[in-house]
């Protein structure tokens, strides 16, 4: 049975309890993770030496029909998410202890060889795609500034940034030509760039970090890139990190050579394993959320919104906002916060991270505020809420059941309690 090497009290099946007993002897040697075959007696261990398990076997072993048996521990309940500051200080203190492995290809002569190979292949009409574990940003940037910039114009695009848009890259390219941006449509802009570089004296080298990022996955972006990539005077060197990134292009796109009427990339693939951390690429990830680094087109937006709803607001930020609003507004916040806390406590399924269900309907809130002399009219209440909404301390959405608006505070239970407590102390 696949499982983690640690003894786990919550694992409930009998079979596993037996395994646990067996494993506890082995667990002294923590260097060896316990593989699925282990723990079934010596005979099996011998057999497993003869019969080598392949990735296919593993796939079918792990994807058997039936329930997946894992423990019932819930991470977000048992571990309090880190705030951004805590995370940053912890990582900076940890960097001294983490072992650093520097691949040979990034050292001295090897790097020069690789760079000279890249530039030669680029100039010979290929575009380059770098894959492998580790952030390739630093290496490619160095290639762009040290090598490409001596041969032509260079544009570097950070595809991994969530707010990146293809237009940023095109605008950057057009800033070379010093022409007025008469057309704002991206495809026209791309065609104009293509025409410009068809006759321009100097070449253009485009470095794209993470061409597999969601802004580049759209068919439109792909066709624009394909148009630029086929231009004999435009060269693209890009990096990919996602394991399924090669699925982005069809074989004809991958092999299509630079010529008049073709659209394609003519990729050459290079293994550029740097083993460097992705801290810069993930600078935008929400470190307090498990899915904070997930990169998936439409899904991602939903994820970031829910993630923000759950944890984005820190205690300090909330107290700053609360300190700057009127007393009435503070009272309104306390009212809503207490209601929400109560709702969370009353709820059975406390594992859920969706706070919307604990929110208060607008009309209920209005009635409550009128009863407590916080706001006497709809306009007054809306103006009180305005400040909070601007800072996302209170968010609202259309109710999923029934009609009307639902308002809630996007803060985890413990944090909300802390904020309310400090607010009452100040008052």
């Amino acid at each position: 049975m696949p499982r983690f090497p640690l003894d786990n009290p919550d694992m409930s099946t009998e079979e596993e309890d037996i395994e646990d007993a067996e494993d506890s002897e082995e667990s002294g040697s923590e260097d060896e993770p316990i593989s699925p075959e282990k723990g079934n007696g010596k005979q099996n261990a011998e057999e497993s030496k003869i019969i080598v398990q392949t990735a296919f076997d593993a796939y079918f072993t792990y994807n058997k029909a039936g329930r997946v048996q894992t423990s019932s521990n819930v991470y977000s309940q048992l571990v309090l998410p880190l705030s951004a500051e805590e995370y940053a200080s912890a990582i900076s203190s940890a960097t001294k202890e983490i072992p650093v492995v520097e691949p040979i290809i990034l050292q001295g002569k090897h790097k020069e060889t690789i760079f000279s190979r890249f530039i030669c292949e680029l100039n010979e009409g290929f575009n380059i795609l770098c894959y492998g574990i580790g952030s390739k940003r630093r290496v490619l940037n160095q290639f762009a500034t040290d090598v490409c910039s001596k041969r032509g114009h260079v544009v570097v695009a950070n595809g991994f940034q969530p707010e990146f848009h293809l237009k940023d890259m095109l605008n950057s390219i057009e800033s070379i030509q010093n022409v007025d941006l008469s057309s704002t449509a991206v495809d026209k802009q791309a065609r104009r760039i293509n025409d410009f570089f068809a006759t321009h004296k100097h070449h253009l080298y485009i470095t794209i970090h993470n061409i597999d990022a969601s802004p580049f996955r759209a068919p439109k972006s792909k066709s624009i890139l394909a148009l630029l990539a086929h231009n004999p005077r435009i060269h693209i060197i890009a990096s990919i990190d996602h394991i399924n990134a090669p699925l982005l292009w069809s074989t004809s796109e991958i092999f299509s050579r630079k010529s008049e009427e073709s659209r394609g990339f003519q990729w050459l693939w290079h293994d550029l394993t740097t083993l460097a951390s992705y801290d810069f690429e993930l600078a935008f990830a929400d470190r307090s959320s498990l899915s904070g680094a997930h990169t998936g087109g439409a899904r991602r937006k939903v994820d970031t919104i829910t993630a923000q709803n759950a944890t984005a607001m820190s205690e300090t930020a909330a107290s700053h906002i609360l300190a700057s609003v009127t007393q009435k507004a503070q009272k309104l916040f306390t009212l809503l916060g207490n209601y929400q806390l109560q709702a969370i406590e009353n709820a059975d399924d406390s594992a859920s991270t969706d706070l919307q269900q604990f929110g208060m309907a607008y009309d209920v809130l209005f009635r409550n505020t009128r009863d407590n002399f916080i706001a006497t009219s709809d306009t007054a209440l809306r103006s009180l809420l305005g400040e909070f909404r601007d800072h996302s301390l209170i968010v609202s959405a259309q109710a999923t059941t029934g009609s009307g608006e639902v308002l809630w505070i996007p803060m985890r239970k413990e944090r909300l309690a802390n904020v309310l407590q400090s607010l009452s102390q100040h008052a």
């Binding site: 202890e97 492995v101 000279s116 990190d241 801290d279």
Partner: protein
């Protein structure tokens, strides 16, 4: 834009950066590599192109060898490229002519009395040539015809991504024609008063205006050809409406649709579109040559043709790979071009001596390159020769020129022999005799010719030569005479220099022919026997292996395999091994000293992401994040105690065990707290990295559970 040395690429608030080229500001930073390059830069400040520096053999490279080898490469490749392009054009000439003819005359004789006009559609099945074919068609269609002024057709190209919906598609067609440069001066449009840019009437108005402005006679209206690339990728729903719209305005606009399809099916339209759409179209089918025969034609005519001598000969290692790639993955000419170009590039970048492929540059008397060359040459020659020669460099150069001539003449013999073989083989096949079955269409024998070429290069064609000999010995008298005639004609038609070299063979053939002509009474079998013996002797003499020659590796790639990871990489394997065995990447593969295989690293010695990934591989298809975290923490705890042990143990090794234990105990509560936060941060960071790499799928099925996406095996254990 700021100056490049002031440009901060680490600025997180910007998504794109631009470094404009500045030939004057070149000297801002020079690393060691750049300094050497700047010596050889051109007038406008751009470094001259050169081949990548050779790491292994750098010491014995000629000064400025990268550039010289680049020139040699460029020369060899351009020659080869021109030849292949010529062959490709030849291959597609027939179908191109037919397509151009049909497109031009689409409106010449329309059927009278149809209930509604039909939109002419030229349907081209074009799996191999891709856009090069369409490019050639475009230029052929747009060129002026002798008999009439003005172009015969106007061509615009559209791509699947332009046709996301009807208005975008129409816009692509309309603007494709209108924005064609040099036809009609652009008029500033007022959006309120003019037609929309996706309206076909707009195109109609433009066409009318253009006809009026140019001096095209009334009866010769140029057709408007729309070329649809990769037609399978267009949305049929959109295309149905577009066909409908365009067929409505045929009376004003002579539109022709040229559809290019890469699947070899001729009834794609019938399968995908309803009768109501097909009724509006008049479809004409055309097919370009495709499949393995294209590859064979290109290989044979480029590397095994008497009339063409490439600078380098490609060996079986690469040809096998090319064959495999072409038949299995992508059967397009682009693949052939790419592979052959890469082979050239690689051949010239690996070996410093390849600078001498075609000619010998003036060499400095004492340099590592010349001494390496001398050493290499003296390896091949007999010792006494070297001792006698006072100047080793000039001797080496003379020897090298000899080797070069020797190689090319052997290579020419090889090609000649093979062509004679082909000539005889074709004759026998034409006459219906049992022969070699080189070009059979039998699917099992698909790679037959590939094996023949391999046999030719490795010198194992004796059996085929024998078969030919036997087959020709059984010929009747007239047949033998015909065959002699044919072989003689072939040898006679060769380029003058080769033909004169083959004087002996020709004389022999004429003798045989005359012998047959005069002495008709003797047994014919005797005569075909003579022919057969001559043929076998001749072929055995010609077909010899180039690998036996000295310094053959300068002109022949031999069995060197193609670096397939350049075109068809195994990204998954690379990523998994990067995670599981990161330390392997730190080892120098080029170091000549065979190092002992480093002992396997314990899990705590790995980077965080690797630790987490190892635990990932141990789990089931669903991962409980908390358990994952706990197992990670366990390893980090070990890591911490181990590193502390190492630190304390090194100065005084004896107190190792106890000291470590004491350390554990001494950890205060505050430290413990800090440690936990650190572990959590490192866990989140490693997990986010795995997520970023696509190893995790989020699911809402169970609270805080993740799905595995990769089920590889940790074979390091």
């Amino acid at each position: 834009m700021t100056e490049h040395n002031a440009l901060n690429l680490d600025d997180i608030s910007k998504t794109a950066f631009c470094i404009p080229f500045d030939s004057t500001g070149l000297n801002f930073i020079y690393s060691s590599m750049d300094r050497s390059q700047s010596l050889f830069s051109t007038d406008d400040g751009i470094a001259k192109p050169q081949l990548p520096s050779v790491t292994v053999n750098e010491a014995r490279d000629i000064e400025n060898g990268g550039e010289l080898r680049f020139l040699a490469y460029k020369k060899a490749w351009t020659k080869c490229l021109a030849r292949i392009q010529e062959i490709v054009q030849e291959l597609q000439a027939a179908s191109m002519k037919a397509v151009v003819q049909e497109t031009r005359s689409s409106y010449d004789n329309t059927l009278p009395g149809l209930p509604y006009p039909e939109l002419p559609v030229v349907y081209v099945t074009n799996p191999t040539f891709g856009s090069t074919f369409l490019g050639h068609i475009t230029s052929a269609l747009e060129e002026n015809r002798n008999d009439a002024p003005g172009p015969s057709c106007l061509v615009t190209h559209v791509y699947p991504s332009d046709f996301s919906n009807i208005s975008n598609g129409m816009k692509a067609i309309v603007s494709g024609f209108i924005e064609k440069s040099g036809l009609l001066e652009k008029v500033k449009r007022k959006t309120a008063e003019s037609l929309a840019n996706y309206d076909i009437k707009f195109l109609g108005a433009w066409y009318k205006a253009w006809l009026e402005s140019s001096d095209i006679p009334e009866g010769r209206l140029p057709n408007l050809v729309v070329v649809f690339h990769d037609f399978e990728q267009y949305d049929p729903l959109v295309m149905r409406d577009i066909c409908h719209i365009c067929s409505k305005s045929i009376s004003q606009l002579p539109l022709v649709f040229l559809l290019s399809l890469s699947s070899p099916s001729t009834n794609y339209l019938n399968v995908t579109y309803p009768q109501s759409t097909l009724a509006l179209l008049r479809v004409r089918n055309f097919t370009t040559p495709s499949g393995l025969s294209v590859l064979q034609e290109i290989i044979l005519k480029t590397f095994f043709d008497v009339n063409f001598e490439p600078d380098i000969l490609i060996g079986p290692g690469v040809l096998d790979y090319l064959h495999d790639l072409f038949t299995r993955y992508a059967s397009s000419v682009d693949v052939i071009f790419t592979v052959i170009q890469l082979v050239h590039l690689r051949h010239f970048s690996l070996e410093p001596l390849t600078v001498l492929v075609r000619d010998t540059p003036s060499l400095a008397t004492s340099s590592p390159f010349t001494s390496a060359l001398c050493a290499r040459v003296s390896l091949q020659t007999h010792d006494e020769d070297v001792d006698m020669d006072p100047d080793p460099v000039s001797h080496a150069i003379a020897q090298l020129d000899k080797y070069r001539n020797c190689f090319y003449s052997r290579y020419q013999d090889l090609r000649l022999g093979f062509c004679v073989m082909l000539c005889v083989h074709r004759y026998l096949e034409r006459q219906g005799h049992a022969s070699l079955k080189w070009f059979t269409t039998d699917t099992r024998n698909e790679d037959r010719l590939q094996r023949v070429i391999n046999g030719l290069l490795s010198g194992t064609l004796e059996k085929d030569v024998e078969t030919l000999g036997i087959a020709s010995s059984k010929l009747k008298e007239e047949e033998a005479r015909d065959l002699i005639e044919e072989v003689h004609a072939f040898l006679y038609d060769l380029p003058a220099d080769i033909s004169s070299q083959e004087q002996g063979a020709r004389a022999k053939l004429i003798m045989m022919k005359n012998y047959i002509a005069t002495d008709t009474t003797s047994e014919s079998s005797n005569l075909s026997m003579t022919l057969s013996t001559w043929l076998v002797d001749y072929l055995c003499e010609k077909l010899s292996v180039v690998e036996e020659l000295d310094l053959w590796e300068l002109w022949y790639t031999g069995r060197t395999p193609f670096p397939s990871e350049l075109l068809n990489p195994s990204i998954r394997a690379s990523m998994v091994s990067g995670l599981l065995r990161p330390y392997d990447y730190a080892e120098d593969p080029s170091s000549m000293v065979p190092t002992e295989p480093s002992p396997d690293k314990a899990i705590w010695e790995l980077p965080d992401t690797s630790i987490l990934f190892k635990r990932y591989l141990d789990s089931g298809k669903m991962i409980n994040v908390y358990d994952w975290f706990e197992s990670f923490k366990y390893v980090l705890d070990t890591q911490r105690s181990q590193t502390r042990e190492l630190r304390t143990a090194s100065p005084k090794k004896r107190a190792k065990g106890k000291a470590a234990k004491r350390q554990e105990v001494q950890m205060t509560e505050e430290e413990e707290e800090q440690w936990n936060v650190q572990v959590q941060a490192r866990f989140i960071r490693a997990m986010h990295e795995l997520d970023y790499l696509g190893f995790i799928k989020h699911t809402g099925r169970k609270a805080d559970h993740l799905l595995r996406t990769v089920f590889d095996i940790n074979d390091a254990e």
